[in-house]
């Protein structure tokens, strides 16, 4: 009964809020400026509404579906901005209600607006809005246009829900829903075998990570009796959990992050996920969902901080992934795959930052990366839209033809390469400092090399696509419509300026704000040696220079180190044969094991049954042989049986006595 009243209460509250909000005159809204973080829960609901609406009537709306999606995400964006502004001055807001009762335990759901969440809300809703807008142009003419928008809405809902979850269970729920959105969008071109395989792979590989998260979460629950972040941190601080358990749960949860963020060894799905439409790659597989792993580690940062081993694991995996993916990116020829490996590598960077206790650095890079990588993907989408191929060897000399896209792409490339003055520079610098200060010189070195590689392959991409002569057969290359270029422009601006919220020069506003009230997260800015910045700059410029020499000016042959057909190139081009390795080990094992079980099922289980039925049939046949059809025999048998019973009865005086 309690729950019903609660249901009424919650329902009533929702209606009351919506009702009040609707009834309030517009000017009051403006005056109040929507200054209530309490209403942050509305933010994810807009895209959900969009999803449901498009599911129901999308078919009729056709391409007008875009407006529903755009409008709804715009609403989310506006609210997110308001909430973010609000959060600058107000403390964290937390709302919870009982979601599920298990005996004495009450699992809650709700939402929380803390600094990280507010920031993520903004990033996600912004990128989502831009991608919604962009897709109107990109997906134009697709017969499943409305489905695409519906899926986008679903994904945005899940992602926004993920970032305002106050507890790890709710995070997990949206975590999986995000995976669903990603799955659906990767498989959007369902008729392509590659898309089908990629979607399946993405879902399953992230699911492997999710199981780790699930186990870690459950183990944590039994340690702290709560899924709430705050309770968990309290328990960690109080030392209520043994060290081993902290390490174990942290690593398990990190496995979840590995899956979602495409870290080694669960990274292989992310490049394959590029089978989805390009806006999807920008939204999900660059800016938001893949960053969820980083977000998760950041959200549970105090837990990780409590275990050196766990932190070290995060840092090592991150650092290794950064250089590992970057090295693969060096030789890929598919424009989106290069970006995908770059994403994996950058996510590795973020993990490295978090693993080196650089909370701010990680989150900061998450933000800047979201902007410039989304920009890069959208620009890449624009290129693909124009030339209808993804192979960079068939492109070239597009600078003149794509007057608008090309400079924006360049901005993104500069940002990701860490050229001073752009956003990527500051965040990357922050990470390098964190790694150095965190006492991981080896990882620092790795990160530096990865930065070099990043600059190199990104400019390799840039030069191959936009400079030189056209190697493709495209004749009708045109600039994209404004619905596509405008979002890119906005992202381009952000890719340039976003870095200035947290710089060693103009103050670390973002860092201070993020760590405000949470001393455990570390300081807003870690002072590092000045040479690190210089080193970073030199490294990235060197990378750009090398790329220019090889692909721009062509003064060095592309195969000066290792050409096509060489072992190194082959290994890199085939992504270190990781997929093949999995195919040969895990997949083969699972299949083999399944066939073994089938053998057991067919021969042993069924065999035993056949044996039993055989025995019974044999007995039956014996019995039917005894059936001679002679009444006298039957009578004799019946009588002898009776006689035996009677004699037994007479001798023993009967059973039960």
């Amino acid at each position: 009964m309690v729950n019903l009243t609660k249901l009424y209460a919650v329902g009533g509250q929702i209606t009351r809020i919506v009702h009040e909000w609707c009834l309030t005159p517009i000017d009051t809204h403006l005056k109040r400026g929507f200054d209530k973080m309490e209403n942050a829960w509305l933010i994810p609901l807009f895209p959900l509404l969009s999803f449901l609406l498009l599911l129901l009537i999308g078919k009729r709306l056709k391409e007008a579906s875009a407006y529903v999606g755009i409008l709804m995400t715009l609403a989310s964006l506006v609210f997110s901005i308001l909430v973010l502004l609000e959060r600058f001055s107000e403390p964290t807001y937390l709302y919870r209600f009982d979601w599920l009762t298990i005996g004495e335990m009450h699992l809650t759901a709700g939402f929380e607006v803390n600094q990280l969440n507010a920031l993520m809300l903004f990033i996600v809703s912004l990128v989502s809005f831009l991608v919604h807008t962009y897709s109107k142009g990109y997906m134009h003419g697709d017969e499943r246009f409305h489905v695409f928008y519906a899926y986008l809405g679903l994904f945005t809902f899940a992602m926004l829900g993920l970032v305002i979850s106050p507890n790890i269970l709710q995070t997990y729920i949206f975590w999986e829903l995000v995976g669903l959105g990603s799955f659906l969008l990767i498989g959007f071109y369902y008729y392509k075998e590659e898309a089908k395989a990629a979607a399946k792979k993405a879902f399953i590989m992230t699911r492997i990570g999710d199981v780790g998260l699930l186990i870690g979460m459950i183990l944590l629950f039994w340690q702290t009796n709560s899924f709430e972040y705050s309770e968990i941190f309290k328990a960690v601080e109080a030392g209520a959990i043994s060290n081993t358990m902290i390490t174990l749960t942290a690593i398990l949860i990190f496995i979840g992050a590995i899956g979602k963020s495409g870290q080694f060894p669960l990274h292989t799905w992310l490049p394959d996920a590029m089978e989805g439409p390009t806006p999807v790659s920008a939204l999900i597989h660059a800016a938001t969902m893949v960053a969820a792993g980083v977000y998760l580690v950041a959200a549970l940062f105090p837990l990780f901080l409590a275990s050196k081993t766990a932190l070290m694991t995060v840092a090592v995996i991150g650092g290794f992934t950064a250089i590992f993916a970057a090295s693969i990116g060096l030789v890929q020829t598919d424009i989106k795959r290069v970006l995908a490996y770059s994403t994996v590598s950058q996510l590795g960077y973020m993990m490295l930052a978090l693993g080196s206790a650089g909370y701010v650095a990680g989150v900061f890079h998450l933000m800047t990366h979201a902007f410039f990588k989304a920009l890069l993907f959208l620009a890449a989408g624009s290129v693909i839209h124009a030339v209808h191929t993804q192979n960079i060897e068939e492109m070239g000399g597009l600078w003149k033809k794509l007057k608008f896209t090309a400079p924006l792409f360049l901005i993104g490339t500069l940002a990701i390469s860490g050229v001073p003055g752009l956003s990527g520079f500051f965040s990357k610098d922050e990470i390098l400092v964190a790694a150095w200060e965190g006492g991981h010189p080896v990882l620092f070195l790795l990160a530096l090399i990865a930065a070099f590689m990043t600059a190199f392959y990104m400019f390799r991409l840039f030069f191959m696509v936009f400079t030189g002569e056209n190697r493709g057969k495209q004749t009708h290359v045109h600039e994209s419509p404004s619905t596509m270029t405008l979002p890119m422009l906005l992202l381009g601006i952000l890719a340039v300026v976003a870095g200035y919220v947290n710089t060693p020069w103009f103050g670390s506003f973002l860092g201070d704000w993020l760590t405000d009230g949470n001393p455990v997260l570390g300081h807003g800015h870690i002072e590092g040696p000045a040479w690190i910045m210089a080193a970073a700059t030199i490294v990235s410029l060197a990378g750009i220079l090398l790329a220019y020499l090889i692909y721009g000016k062509r003064s060095i042959a592309p195969d000066w180190l290792s050409g096509k057909g060489d072992m190194l190139h082959t290994v890199l081009y085939n992504k270190y044969y990781i997929d093949e390795f999995y195919q040969m080990t895990v997949v083969a094992f699972v299949t083999g094991f399944s066939y073994l079980l089938r053998f057991i099922d067919v021969f042993i289980v069924e065999g035993i049954i056949k044996g039993v039925t055989g025995i019974i049939q044999g007995l039956g046949k014996l019995g039917s042989k005894m059936q001679t059809g002679q009444v006298q025999t039957y009578g004799a048998v019946a009588f002898v049986g009776l006689a035996v019973l009677v004699v037994i009865y007479a001798l023993t005086g009967g059973y039960l006595r």
């Binding site: 009964m1 309690v2 729950n3 019903l4 609660k6 249901l7 009982d98 979601w99 599920l100 009762t101 298990i102 005996g103 004495e104 335990m105 269970l169 997990y172 729920i173 949206f174 975590w175 999986e176 829903l177 669903l180 498989g187 369902y190 008729y191 392509k192 075998e193 898309a195 089908k196 979607a199 399946k200 879902f203 399953i204 699911r207 492997i208 999710d210 199981v211 699930l214 186990i215 459950i218 183990l219 629950f221 039994w222 699972v590 299949t591 094991f593 399944s594 066939y595 079980l597 089938r598 099922d601 289980v605 069924e606 035993i608 049954i609």
Partner: protein
Amino acid sequence: MNLHAVLSLLVFSPLVGIIVLAILPKSQEIAIKAVGFLATLPPLALSLAVYAHYLAGKSLSDFSVSVPWIQFRGLQPDEPAYAVNYELAISGFQLLLVVLTSVVSTLAALGACRFIKKEWKGYFMLFLLLVTGMLGLFTAENMVLFFIFFEVTLIPTFFLIGKWGYFEKEKAAFSFLIYNGFGSAVLLIVIMILLAKTGTTNIVMLKEIIADPSVGLSADFKLGLFIALLIAFGVKLPIFPLHSWMLRVHVQAPPSVVMIHSGILLKIGAYGLIRFGMGIFPDQFKQLAVLLAILGVINLLYGAFLAFIQTDFKMVLAYSSISHMGIVLMGLAAMNEAGIQGAIFQVVSHGLISALLFFLVGVLYERTETSLIGNLGGLAKGMPLTAGFLLAAAMASLGLPGMSGFVSEFMAFLGLFKVEPWIAAVGSIGIIMTAVYLLRAVLGMTFGKAFRDFDGVLDLRGLELVPVLVLMLLIVLIGVYPSVLSSPLQATLETIMLGLGG
């Protein structure tokens, strides 16, 4: 209104439909279908009314009814009288199952209108009898009555499979009957022993008598009885290695029967284990908990791995049922609130999901005349709705949050991790495998290139959408707001936990 009559009315109201059907001539196809469908509505309405009664905050014990039925004295004058009463009652747990049964029955009747192509009269008469049996056994308050209803479900199912099934229907029907007959024989023996030893078969009284040490049933004896119960219900659940009958039934029976079978009949095993195994023999249950957990994990993984290599989608679903029932076992073996609640959730959730999946398979089979994954493909083009719902149902089945499968799986694992973390960790491989085999199968059918041209086939339409939508809505409702299930369960859980001594 006399509330005591409600349950009897609920249980026996489908019989009215049988009588009406008996009068109707065989050729009146539409009338027969209408009656068959309408006759499932009274139980649905009544069960919802009972649920509303519960929601209104009134006690469910208002509905209990107990009428003396069979009584006889022992041989010795000092022996107590043996009494078997006609006792129906409903608790929160039973209420859920009754609602589930009536909902799935109604939808299956609707499905039958489409899937059954011949002899509707006989079909619906047997079907309604089956409904009565299921409703009866979930509300029976004593074991003899339970057994009678149990048998009542057995016989109609046998004929429904054997007459209206696919190519190997006879074999499937016979395996069904033999396995379940074996199970029910074991059950009958247990019931008779309990009656002889205690003089009653009332479940509540039995619980007290068994727990009472002065009655003098030895621990070994009780353990034996419990193992017998485990076998009896293990056949039904089914627990590895007693599962092979169920595969045949799932493949050969008509879709509307499989909806009922997979949706509800399999749940009798879980119901029996919880109600009788756990309710009457808590100590023995505790003793074997680890074994049950291991069996559960074996079921889970065995089903999952085998589902991975099946070529027939129905077989995938059949093995998936085995796998999901493993989760029920695991949850029960955890013996804590989370685990048991998870098991019960899984019972309900799998009931809905598998009913939905088999309905969709029925639709697919009707349109394309195959359920082989290799022969399908690219269905999303020709049948976008079917493909979409198939995918959604698969997602629910693999435990996607926001749908009922997740809540149940999550709670079962939550419970088991507390007591047997290692076993649970091994079991969690099953979560991955579930995703693997379901996606392989469903994507194989809906995505990719079409094996042949499915342009001519029709998508879901008209009345076919009703079961799909209703089931989907329920699945999502439970997933989003699980309290609809969990709040009626609390009282039941408390009783069980009290019995378990913790």
